[in-house]
Symmetry: C2
Subunit: 84 residues, 2 copies
């Protein structure tokens, strides 16, 4: 695997797993008051388009990264609504 592919993989992994700590924090504190609902919905819409983009190009890294990030943000959104 060449350097640039490794760099892209590392970037994709970091920007995907980044939402795990937010998910756990919201689950533990049972509070997401400071997390913007508009940000979550806008970000998830963008992730959904990236997912369609990846499927269209049949690019597995884009599909994997964006579907996982979309899933994690969906859970954060669900917890935010639940703990209103």
């Amino acid at each position: 695997m060449d350097f640039i592919t490794l760099l892209g993989l590392a970037a994709a992994i970091l920007t995907t797993i980044a939402f795990l700590p937010q998910m756990f924090k919201t689950w533990q504190t049972k509070s997401a008051k400071d997390v913007s609902l508009v940000m979550l919905i806008t970000f998830m819409s963008g992730l959904f388009l990236w997912l369609i983009y990846g499927i269209y190009l049949q690019a597995l890294p884009i599909i994997l990264a964006n579907s996982m990030t979309l899933f994690f943000n969906f859970i954060i959104l669900w917890l935010k609504i639940k703990y209103r």
Copy 2:
């Protein structure tokens, strides 16, 4: 501009501007207690790698989207530390 380029552009714009509402909410409420510090730092590290990736490939869309998202998240991080 073909469909797939438009789709990628729309996805990039949404996942970039998504952080503006979070920035304004944090600035207005002067509170970011519920926003995970670990998420911000991990996400920003990933965005930085995407930026290097974009520069390496000389791909302007990747450079623009990730530098702006990195800038917005830097402001959110700064506000979070300021309003501790």
